[in-house]
């Protein structure tokens, strides 16, 4: 274990945790900048670990474990990941409690009613944004449209379809 490196991981990621408003991807640029300044990773390595973290299962903030691993091995990965999780999770726990405790009150119901259509609009926006950034082929758009209809109108399990699509991508067929 490297105590100095561990401490610098804790101090950086616990602050970043609270700054990651809108999800951990919003602080990826700051991670990239800091990792380069501290000589934790090269820019090329950072690009690769971002792709790895996007393509492996689990929450998006696991990129932090990869940085921690590079800096200080297993303990670096564990400590960096915990530092990234704990402050934000504590805040979420606090707000969840207030939200659940207020259920049934008029302001809670009005907020729930009022925000629901906005949340739906933002869900459509997230689908649109993924499509925009992915530079897909025509066949991929056809697959996306078919999947939309399929998942909307049926109860089919999406996991086998995700696995097949991943294999087709791996073989560079779509």
């Amino acid at each position: 274990m490297k105590p100095g490196a561990i401490l610098s991981l804790i101090s950086f990621f616990s602050v970043l945790s609270i700054l990651s408003i809108g999800g951990s991807n919003s602080v990826v640029p700051e991670m990239a900048r800091h990792a380069e300044v501290e000589h934790w990773l090269t820019a090329g390595q950072f690009t690769n670990i971002f792709a790895i973290s996007q393509a492996t299962p689990g929450p998006s903030n696991l990129i932090v474990a990869l940085i921690g691993f590079k800096v200080a091995g297993f303990w670096g990965a564990l400590v960096a990941q915990l530092a990234m999780m704990l402050p934000a999770a504590s805040l979420m726990l606090l707000v969840s409690r207030i939200w659940v405790a207020s259920s049934g009150s008029p302001w809670h119901l009005a907020l729930e009613h009022g925000l629901a259509p906005i949340a739906v609009g933002l869900i459509f926006a997230s689908g649109w944004t993924i499509a925009e950034g992915a530079s897909l082929s025509t066949i991929s758009y056809v697959i996306a449209a078919a999947c939309t209809l399929l998942f909307w109108k049926s109860h089919i399990n999406p996991i086998p379809i995700i696995v097949v699509a991943g294999m087709l991508g791996w073989m560079r067929l779509i």
């Binding site: 690769n48 973290s53 929450p59 999780m85 933002l122 939309t148 995700i162």
Partner: protein, 188 residues
Amino acid sequence: MTEPATKPRLLELALTFNKISLASFGGGLSAWARRVIVEEKKWLDDEEFLSALTLSRVLPGANQMNFAVYVGNRFHGFEGALAAVLGLITIPFLIILAVAYAYFLHSTTPAIQDVLHGVTAVAIGLALSMGLKTGEKFLFDPTALLFGALAFAASVFLKLPLIAVLAILGPPAFLVAWRHHPRKKDAS
């Protein structure tokens, strides 16, 4: 909020969030979370799911992790939140360690970009189908359609960050809901 028929146990919370996280490539596939939590387990209804999702997105932290904290706390307080988060993170953390080992110590990069490219089309389908499922009940509600369309446009065309969209559209949406349906939920 309507109370679910059965209250999940801690182990069930952990296993369920493990299932959710293992199927969510590309980060934040909340459509899959909705499928499991709302449709299969019936732990939350659609409205509570949407409000929990909005809280999870607007507060700092990974959306999925915040959502796990919400659901866990909802049923078992701190212990529930801990069980849900551990269920969510443990196996993916071990997988990422294995990948880190392969990448940093053996310099092998798996063909991850290609796999991700294939999965993207399905991810788009999942997101849009969730929009349709949660949104179809607003089809004949002009106010809801207006706020949904404005939120979409603000995010996609104006590229406003989430927090700005909520700060601009949230207060009028709240006021309209407050005036028109203060206790509608009990009646529906």
